[in-house]
Symmetry: C2
Subunit: 164 residues, 2 copies
Amino acid sequence: MHLEGRLADRDSWTADRCSVDRALSVIGTRTAMLVLREAAYGAHRFDEFARRVGVTDAVMAARLRQLTDDGLLRREPYREPGQRTRFEYHLTDMGRDVLPALLALMQWGDRYLTGEDGPPLRVTHMDCGAPVTAKVTCARGHEVPSDEISVRRSPRRVTPDATP
Amino acid sequence: MHLEGRLADRDSWTADRCSVDRALSVIGTRTAMLVLREAAYGAHRFDEFARRVGVTDAVMAARLRQLTDDGLLRREPYREPGQRTRFEYHLTDMGRDVLPALLALMQWGDRYLTGEDGPPLRVTHMDCGAPVTAKVTCARGHEVPSDEISVRRSPRRVTPDATP
DNA sequence: CAGCTGACTCTTGTTTCGCATAGCCAGGCA
DNA sequence: TGCCTGGCTATGCGAAACAAGAGTCAGCTG
């Protein structure tokens, strides 16, 4: 990673409240990530989340509430025959877009933290059967190693008033 | 995401101690991620980490120790003229490979959690200048949306004893 | 030698996360 | 009516993360 422009002098700035930090304040807890994992696997209902994540209903209620408040889940009423109305939890676009981060974490864990019998799950592309990974790529399709990444400050958009 | 084979019956299994969970137990704290962010930006020395992450030296000492113990950082002695020997912290391969997850988080934060003035940093490919993102792709190069992802259990490799 | 500095370490709160337990409340069922 | 069940809430507790401040220790400088 190469810092460009004013960023190059690392003594002159800090990355406080950067996007990584902000993201972690929403999905930085273990249970938040695991709830999103289960939602990606297709879980929708309270008891399913609680059982599969392996937490008590109190913790799960708190986490589901936080994630809906933050906009990653959407509550939808449902009604089993002979039961009262309850709520299901569905991923919003915001929640679904955590998937790359989740896959990147899984991949890293697969690679460095599984015992000798390797990754427990295999993730593939349904259409072609090839294994799926989270890759760092540029918009032109190159896979980008860390030493080819350039970081600079976004230009402040001060309503540029595009004169022709 | 589609669960295949025995996984399809979500009542019959739970994903406890999956790779996501394992990964979170190593890099699941806010400061661990931020230390890796700074290391990716090129930080090496104790006071630089402490200052830029914005934590006390006590917390930083604990975090650097944990990350070196876990194998994400490597301690290397250095000596400033007229100073005693001190240590620098460098990313190992294991640490560098967290980058995709870090970028995915940054990207997600950029998209959903920045104020109206948008992402603070622009990340590009040095060679071609195109923006860099963490994408979910298959080995054949297709970009894979979440509904085209298939998950199944890895075949247990029980020393298959390949008889010809 | 005394004093200083930088990298840690130790101690003492405070906050947050998660667990355990108990209680609430709507509706079905006896 | 009373009981049961399943989401959800409330309270109290232990563990961990982090802050704040003091202490340690090696080696340089005066």
